[in-house]
Symmetry: C2
Subunit: 93 residues, 2 copies
Amino acid sequence: AWADGNAKSGAQKIKTLQCQSCHGKDGLSKLPGAPNLAGQAQDYLIAALGAYRSEDRKNEIMNTVAKPLTDADIADLTAYYASLQITVKPPAP
Amino acid sequence: AWADGNAKSGAQKIKTLQCQSCHGKDGLSKLPGAPNLAGQAQDYLIAALGAYRSEDRKNEIMNTVAKPLTDADIADLTAYYASLQITVKPPAP
């Protein structure tokens, strides 16, 4: 089942999996087409990684990256990125 | 083709389409499972909306919402959310 995961071990796994080359250690996109992940809703990230792992959602890089991930990996990785605090400048009225 | 879109008319279209009920006027998720959109990479958002419109990417709500959108709509809507400025608190070292 999806545990809430551990952001600290998530940070380790991100180094191993090299997520930061596209998504950044700070969770801001480093590659055109790669989304920002910082502060993203964890359940959304869990659903996205699960869909890439099962190939419900198609993306060459992400299907390859997600294939070997365990539920615990997904919980930890998403916990890390969801834990990054973002603030949004209020939109113009 | 994908123009860069106009954030101002995007804000209008968001009111009409009620995007803010799930994604918020400030682009922060208001519904479990709905992602934050604030400051997201515009090309990623354009690709996502295009995939929901063509149903390459499956999601009941988003396939319905995206169906009638024109390329110009997609450019404007994504321009609005991409224009919201986010700052990320640097992750713990």
